[in-house]
């Protein structure tokens, strides 16, 4: 009798566990979708207040993003840099590293790719590969500054990254405006050689093989995060560094490693823009792809698959927004507003969840005590 009751409660408990698991998954998709829906609703209110028809405006935006091959290619072109930067940020977030310095790491990656693109000559594949490697290394080097400060001295990486971003913008701006400036009216480096160019798919748009590379990279990172020992370590350090340390994982090493890998991906984002789109490093070419990467990572809940969809969404909003601006009196700024509202909603949800979790821990904490001497 007692046995059967135990078994019954067993089934009950496992049902609860599974239900919780499914709910967790559903929430992962539902919450970002709800944030997007709510943002569109608020946007509709703004459009209506401007005296425009929200349905027509959204229709032109949607058609501008997806209707016809030309529009769709443009959307993918906008999506490509966000795939890289979104992946860079989400990978770091998952490892417990708030790398919001992707913008700066991307700029140095771009500059490095631009320099290698015109200073050496090599066969096509080798030249592209060398430029990409240079970009990855440059991104990692710039990421090493917040990494070492956080791991060794416990300096908050958010602050360091925020301050390094404008420094990167101004430094790369200086190089492309003075010592490395190509003759002519614009502040840019020399055009890269044809052998370093990433192949564009069509004559009318700049979508290039960098897009394919981004998709491959997403797949590779899915494997790294879910199927390798390193990915396992990064995830645990991100979730609970005390637990990771107790299990023999080097927490400082893990943090530095995650920062460097994230910086490499950020560097590749810059390489794609220089080798595939602009064919030279232009001062201030980025409209803030690194920052949009933060939005992508938040929408994606830090999963590579999520990054693909979130980047596509933001890419579509941006490319459709241009068409909407041409067809209606609603300007592209609406898209920036939508992005901001989405982030705000997701951040508010995150704040509420972590607040709840902290209260839970505080309550449960009466039964436990902390272990001293924790690192980083």
């Amino acid at each position: 009798m007692a046995r059967s009751r135990a078994q019954l409660s067993d089934i009950g408990e496992s049902r609860v566990a599974w239900a919780g698991h499914l709910r967790h998954l559903a929430m992962g998709i539902l919450k970002p979708s709800a944030a997007v829906g709510l943002a569109l609703l608020i946007g509709a209110g703004v459009i209506w207040a401007m005296g425009e028809d929200p349905i027509f405006a959204y229709q032109t935006l949607f058609n501008g993003a997806f209707k016809g091959a030309g529009n769709f290619v443009a959307t993918l072109q906008y999506t490509t840099p966000l795939l890289f930067t979104g992946l860079a940020v989400s990978f770091a977030f998952r490892a417990g590293v708030a790398n919001i310095g992707v913008e700066g790491q991307m700029l140095f990656g771009a500059l490095a790719a631009g320099i290698v693109g015109y200073t050496i000559s090599a066969p096509h594949f080798l030249h592209v590969a060398l430029a990409m490697i240079a970009a990855a290394v440059a991104g990692a080097v710039w990421a090493f500054i917040p990494a070492i400060l956080r791991a060794r001295l416990g300096v908050n990486e958010l602050v360091v990254c925020l301050m390094l971003n404008p420094i990167a913008l101004l430094l790369t701006g200086y190089f492309s405006s003075y010592p490395l400036k190509a003759p002519g009216p614009t502040n840019k480096t020399y055009d890269i050689l044809a052998s370093a160019q990433l192949q564009q798919f069509t004559n009318s748009a700049q979508l290039n093989t960098g897009f394919i590379l981004a998709l491959v990279l997403l797949a590779v990172f899915w494997v790294i995060e879910n199927r390798t020992g390193k990915g396992y370590e990064w995830k645990l350090v991100g979730q609970n560094p005390l637990f990771a340390r107790y299990g023999g994982i080097g927490v400082q090493k893990s943090i530095i490693g995650a920062f460097l890998v994230s910086g490499m991906v950020a560097g590749l984002a810059g390489a794609e823009q220089v080798l595939g789109v602009y064919r030279a490093f232009y001062n201030g070419f980025s409209p803030g792809y690194g920052f949009d990467g933060i939005a992508v990572a938040m929408l994606a809940k830090n999963s590579p698959i999520g990054v693909a969809f979130a980047a596509l969404l933001l890419g579509a909003l941006n490319s459709g927004g241009i068409v909407m601006q041409m067809m209606t009196s609603v300007t592209r700024d609406l898209v920036k507003m939508l992005e901001a509202v989405i982030i705000l909603l997701l951040a508010a949800d995150f704040a509420i969840t972590s607040f709840k979790a902290r209260r839970k821990v505080a309550k449960a904490g009466t039964a436990g005590k902390s272990i001293g001497g924790g690192q980083a």
Binding site: H21, R227, G229, L236, N240, F243, Y246, I371
Partner: protein
């Protein structure tokens, strides 16, 4: 005696856990009343109720024989109740005087009268003989003086009842002496001081009366002069045998773990472990008894590779493991059950299989050239789930979906696999239900019988007595004595826990 505080029938439940279970508490005017008990006994909950931070589910409170309802701390302050928390609530960049008057600043028409504040604070400090510079910046002050600022802040608000929550936890011995002097000054001025602590020598030294809490209940309230520290220790850790684990007499074999004259510093830079030596042999369970905060945490952290020692050595099967990191400790065959499974022993958001894999994820068994064999890891986890009877566990579900007892079984399952020989079990059954306690105890005995050496650290005398083959008692970072479990008595262990040695001499510093 006039009671300035009287709490009756206080009940407070968090979920199913009764943090306060029908507690009566009273403190007289002008007395120092010590409130003692282990961590989690419900002391802080009770005082948070008195201070209006937590609302009780049941019960009534009287202040100066008047029934009151304390809905929030502002009401408590209005009633003359002040609380100094373990973590100070001061503004580090402001001056002492500014901190003290903050919230009820002198001045008029919205302007702050800094001079008046300085003068008032200086007068207040003078009146209670609490020397302090009102113009000093708080962040420049040593911890003892910061605490003094907190106390002055309460006095500035004319508190008659002061609650000090583990006030000595952050103090040096000299600062502690100063604090005791202050406390006596306050009571001679007619104030009531409620002193929360789990250090027995402080109770004996400073209090007039003492109330003992255990597992949410008030066990006893006594005059301090009528009880010894040893009796107090016994009351604190209790003796409520629920079951006895069946075990054969031990057959100790070779020494697996040896600690030689180990010295360890605490986070505060004080010597927490002061020359501890001990041995754990294969096939025996050695229990380390002691009131919490007597160096157990620091000792265990060194054994686990989480903290560095300053002197002495730790030998694993005869070879030194000094300055090993946690990975090296693991590879040397040490299993470690940390006292806090939520913060250290598990990652609640990670899946059960991921929690069970920790420490083995880099071994050839589960990792080939950097690639994780997830299939093997999950089937390994499934095997452990059935072997350790972890109820309601799906390998892919997060650990937080399990109950406390089943979470602890996940820790045990992981640590007891892969043939570890030395087991360090720190409070292995804290906060789990009785069924899980029994299971955990049986597992520990089974590991002993399989030839492991088990080092059990527990503040619970029941656990120590029912599992140990030998009992060591730690007090103030030193081993006070060693007893064979079969002829040890609770009274004797209690005496040693309170720092009184066998000859009856008092070694309290």
């Amino acid at each position: 005696m006039v009671n300035s505080v009287e709490m009756r029938g206080i009940v407070k439940k968090f979920g199913t856990l009764a943090a306060n279970n029908n507690v009566d508490f009273s403190a007289g005017k002008g007395e120092v009343h010590a409130l003692v008990g282990e961590n989690g006994a419900g002391k802080t909950t009770l005082m948070n109720i008195l201070y209006g931070v937590i609302a009780p589910d049941e019960g009534s409170i009287q202040i100066d024989d008047r029934k009151v309802h304390i809905g929030n701390p502002a009401v408590a302050i209005g009633l003359g109740i002040g609380m100094v928390h373990q973590h100070f609530k001061l503004v580090p960049s402001l001056s002492v005087a500014e901190n003290i008057v903050l919230g009820s600043e002198p001045g008029s028409r919205g302007f702050f009268d800094r001079l008046a504040a300085m003068r008032q604070v200086a007068e207040l400090a003078d009146r209670f003989a609490l020397a302090i510079d009102p113009m000093a910046t708080v962040q420049d002050l040593p911890v003892g003086l910061q605490q003094r600022v907190e106390i002055l802040k309460m006095l500035y608000r004319e508190a008659k009842i002061l609650i000090l929550d583990e006030p000595t936890a952050v103090l040096t011995p000299q600062e502690t002496e100063e604090l005791f002097r202050t406390v006596r000054n306050l009571t001679s001025d007619g104030k009531t001081v409620i002193f929360i602590t789990h250090k027995l020598n402080e109770v004996m030294k400073v209090s007039d009366r003492v109330s003992v809490m255990r597992a949410g209940r008030m066990v006893a309230t006594l005059n301090t002069s009528e009880i010894s520290a040893a009796q107090l220790a016994e009351k604190m850790v209790g003796r409520s045998v629920l079951f006895q684990v069946q075990k054969q007499p031990s057959e100790p074999k070779e020494v697996l773990l040896e600690v030689k004259d180990l010295r360890v510093m605490s986070n505060r830079g004080l010597e927490a472990v002061r020359g501890v030596s001990l041995q754990v042999r294969a096939g025996e369970i050695v229990g380390l008894a002691g009131v919490q905060g007597n160096g157990q945490d620091e000792l265990v952290e060194v054994l686990a590779g989480l903290r560095r020692s300053t002197a002495g050595d730790v030998l694993l099967r005869g070879s030194s493991s000094k300055d090993f990191n946690p990975r090296q400790v693991r590879e040397a065959g040490v299993a470690y059950i940390p006292s806090d499974r939520i913060k250290v022993g598990l990652s609640l958001d990670a899946a059960i299989w991921e929690n069970m894999l920790l420490g083995y994820h880099a071994t050839r068994e589960f990792n080939r050239g950097g690639l994780l064999d997830v299939g093997k890891a999950t089937s390994f986890a499934r095997e452990l789930i059935s072997r350790f009877d972890i109820r309601g566990a799906q390998v892919g579900a997060p650990v937080k979906s399990l109950s406390g007892g089943n979470q602890q079984k996940v820790v045990l399952a992981r640590e007891f696999s892969h043939g570890r020989r030395v087991i360090i079990a720190d409070q292995p059954s804290r906060g789990v239900d009785i069924g899980a306690i029994e299971f955990i105890h049986k597992q520990l005995v089974a590991m002993r019988d399989r030839g492991c050496g088990v080092f059990l650290i527990s503040a619970d005398l029941d656990e120590i007595f029912s599992l140990s083959d030998r009992i060591l008692v730690i007090f103030h970072g030193e081993i006070m004595g060693e007893l064979a479990a079969r002829d040890a008595t609770v009274e004797e262990v209690g005496r040693l826990m309170a720092g009184v040695n066998r000859r009856g001499g008092d070694v309290i510093g």
